[in-house]
């Protein structure tokens, strides 16, 4: 199955814009511009064509494209996370895994149920599901693009070697997915990290700013998580309702052609309302769920560094008291101090950036959401009015 990016129905193209709007303050920098120009959906993987335009001297050409898969994006993200150098920055959250299973399943079910509906219903339903599939596909592509854009816009991360390789190397990067053992290790690491995180979080921060940020982020993250889940549920039930409405329409069809046409139209609008809510609200919340997680991770790293620094201080004191290994302790303490200060310095800026970015993104999305809701409601209103006019004229 192949889907170009540009051949979708009208409303899908809005989504691209919408998603790019998730983080708005990307510096539009002519020196490095990255986008995903095309994507190809194969059986169980999606191939993204990453297109780069750059004037930076370390690229051989000004403009080039490579084909990348989701795993390679994850690899890039992980390489950022693992790099100590970047401990002081909010690492842009990795894009979510492409998930077409639900949509595919529905298509398959539809195929099975082909006999039980009329041909017209079937084609309508099929179109519906295909549109849904396309929407998910585009969303996936957009998420990946947002990640690359964030990286490309970041003053430090954009200079990363791995990133450059990712952009330029026109062969398969041959990153493999993690095997079971590594996954298990990851799991344990995560457990340790979260336990550590609790410990670290308990440490009173010397800096009020960070203290405040920490409490805020902890709460915020939970709330966003909650909202995101709730909005998902709301939108899902909205979509189900649309689907029921659709079946209702097709039944009503045999009764009143005129009314059912109207219902069909209003239902389409309703479906678009759901899609737009999904896009503007749920996706925004989801993105900030991940982003706030990234910010939390940054705070964790800082807290970790702080704890390390304090421990090193204690060790130095101890060493001085015992007058043993003082030099070594001093260097450790200094390294820790430097590390902590560096993280603190960049983290402060990053968190401030995060906040402005968040506010701007929310503003943009909420405004757009309100505008779209208004647009759809007005469209619905008009439809209803005209239909009522026709019906009342009839009687």
């Amino acid at each position: 199955m192949q889907e170009g990016l540009d051949d979708g129905p009208d409303f899908l193209s809005e989504e691209d814009r919408g998603l790019r709007a998730v983080n708005v303050d990307l510096q539009t920098d002519a020196t490095l511009q990255v986008d995903i120009s095309d994507a190809l959906s194969e059986r169980d993987k999606v191939k993204f064509t990453v297109h780069t335009k750059s004037t930076l001297p370390n690229f051989k050409q000004n403009e080039f494209s490579v084909v990348r898969q989701h795993e390679e994006f994850i690899w890039l993200h992980d390489s950022f996370v693992e790099n100590e150098e970047y401990a002081g920055y909010i690492i842009p959250p990795a894009p979510p895994r492409p998930d077409f299973d639900a949509s595919r399943e529905k298509l398959q079910k539809l195929g099975e149920g082909e006999g039980s509906m009329t041909k017209e219903e079937f084609t309508k339903m099929k179109q519906e599901l295909e549109a849904e599939y396309l929407a998910i596909f585009k969303k996936t592509v957009a998420m990946h693009e947002v990640f690359l854009c964030r990286v490309a816009a970041h003053p430090v991360l954009r200079k990363d070697l791995n990133f450059h390789v990712f952009l330029e190397y026109n062969q398969d990067l041959s990153v493999r997915g993690k095997n079971k053992k590594e996954k298990l290790e990851d799991f344990f690491k995560n457990v340790v990290k979260s336990a550590d995180g609790v410990l670290v979080a308990g440490v009173k921060d010397v800096d009020d700013f960070f203290e405040h940020e920490k409490t805020f982020l902890l709460e915020y993250h939970n709330r966003v998580k909650d909202s995101s889940a709730k909005s998902d549920r709301m939108i899902r039930s909205h979509k189900i309702q649309c689907l029921t409405c659709f079946l209702f329409c097709s039944l009503l069809n045999r009764f009143f052609l005129k009314v059912s046409e109207l219902f069909e139209k209003t239902r389409k609008i309703e479906a678009r309302v759901a899609a737009d809510e999904d896009l503007k609200l749920a996706d925004l919340l989801k993105y900030y769920l991940r982003e706030s997680q990234a910010a939390k991770d940054l705070l964790y790293r800082r807290g970790r560094a702080l704890v390390d620094y304090e421990n090193a201080n204690k060790a130095l004191d101890k060493a001085r008291a015992k007058n043993k290994d003082v030099l070594q302790a001093e260097t450790t303490q200094q390294v820790c101090c430097q590390k902590f200060e560096k993280i603190s310095e960049s983290a402060k800026q990053e968190l401030i950036d995060f906040k402005t970015r968040r506010v701007a993104a929310f503003r943009k999305n909420l405004v757009e959401l309100a505008e779209l809701e208004l647009k759809h409601a007005k469209g619905n209103l008009q439809l209803l009015q005209s239909c009522l006019g026709v019906l009342k004229g009839d009687t």
């Binding site: 966003v224 909650d226 039930s237 909205h238 029921t244 009503l252 968040r358 409601a377 209803l384 009522l388």
Partner: protein
Amino acid sequence: MAASSERSPPPFPDSEEPELLEDSDEEADAFTGTSISEMDSPSPDSTRPPKDIFNEPPEDIFSDPLSNINSEPQKKVDAKIPSPSSDEAVDLFSDPLDDDSEVMSSPEVQNPMPDLLNEPVEAPKSDSSSKSSSVKKAASAEMFGDDDDEEDLFKEPPKVVTKKPQPSGPPVDVFTEVKSDVKVKPQVKDDPTDLFAEEALTAPAPKPSSGSSSSRTNGVHSEEQDLFSEATVELSLDSPCNDRKNKEAVKPSVSAPAAPVASSSSKAPSKSLEELEEEESEDKFDLNISITNPEKVGDGMNAYMAYKVSTQTSLTMFRSKTFTVRRRFSDFLGLFEKLSEKHSQNGYLIPPPPEKSILGMTKVKVGKEDPSSAEFVERRRAALERYLQRVVSHPSLLQDPDVREFLEKEELPRAVSTQALSGAGFLKMLNKATDAVSKMTIKMNEQDVWFDEKIQDVENEEQHLRKLHVMVESLVNHRKELSGNTAVFAKSVAMLGSSEDNTALSRALSQLAEVEDRIEQLHQEQASNDFFTFSELLADYIRLLGAVRGCFDQRMKAWQRWQDAENMLQKKREAEAKLLWANKPDKLQQAKDEITEWEAKVTQYEREFERISATVRKEVIRFDKEKARDFNRQVIKYLESLLHSQQQLIKYWDAFLPEAKAIV
């Protein structure tokens, strides 16, 4: 039309004469369904113009006048008068010329013309020359638009009539000429009356002449065909009022012996019928029934809900204009029972009451202030109101003394047997009986295509409605779910807003939470709207369709009775033949008596069957009309509720937009 094709072989003028009259008769038959004005217009010159007016198949007009002119010169006068009024340009061109030539060349042919045509014989002669030009004008005018024909109708006849020394005045109306004919041929009168009133009764009615009886059968045939093809249109034009009223309306006009009165009275009923129709639809509005104030009476398991039934009417049959009674649910069931006992075997469609719900009622009895029981009561109240409104909107049920009593009388005797009987239970019983009957009479070969199709339709519709009903239920459930989820999301957003440290964004988020909260309410309202407008409506109509099927069953039963009687008669005849053969005169007389008895029974049952068929047909057509109106009204109501919620939505988001924009 069968009548015209039968006529096409030109017979001798003399022998044709009685037939001619019968032809007109037949055409009158064909109009049985439409209105009285046509009914008492059995002469050819009057029947044809209405035909044109009603846009009958054009073949008629082609074949009719042409064949008349060519084959039957004595009909010329008749043909002439309608021709300008007919839409056919062909006629108009051929008519005057033919008339002229034939009138001039063979005046003696017109001499044998009987009574009515005798007098105006001169008229066409002198008329045709002056008329031909005007007719041509008319023709050219008509070629451009059929609409003109009405004008012509009014223009032309006076010209002709003024020269006619006819007794009836020269009213412009086509119907007046009808009148004169009616007077001349009194034997035709009976038929249209009967026909109109009840076609079933006409079949065995004594025929005035042998000639007419032979053509009558033809007439019946053509009439039936016509009815089948036009039943849905024509009959629905007819007012839903019952036979009795029609009869009343027709009788005075037809039986009126005075000539001058006849012309005026013939018009009067045609109008009065329309008025009746209008009146009746107004009556429905006039009789305003509302059920309010459901009240719990008594305690414990003996408690019941009493409803206030208020009636507002200007109908004279009620003692006062407004009155109120208190009724309990079983009273409503009792009313249904009484009505169905009395009327269902006549093929009337008795609106079924809402079903008894033991679970719901028990909840009401036990629970005190439960929202679900309040909803149940409200649902039942609305259903009962719709039920009563359906009953009184039925013209014949409204006349029923029980209905009146139900609405008016302060105290009703307690309906006892309804305890066990609920709507569903009754329908189930009915259905069981139906199945048994239909199994027995599975061989009933439906001669009536209309019924055949209708029965099929009703069954399909019922299935479809059931599906739709299920769908609406799930729609309502999903909407409720959506509303619940929206509420949860709203809370969550409010929390998010409270933890957001940017004040503007925080405010915007709490605003968003408020908007979502309101949207949740909208969804909830919409869900109950969905439910009340659609779900209840569909449930009502599923019940009603069951009642329609009951009507069909009643008809089938009548048919069964008739067939049984027919068989019995056959047996008796065979017995008689045997007796005759065996030469037993003593028992012969008894056998003969039995035969006459059974013959009478067969005739009676057949009549009953025909009557029930007519009633059922009328009832079903009325039901269809009501249904269309009901659905239309409900859909409009539903759309209006949607409209309202969209308007609210716009308001909410409009208010939110500046908040979102205010985020810095």
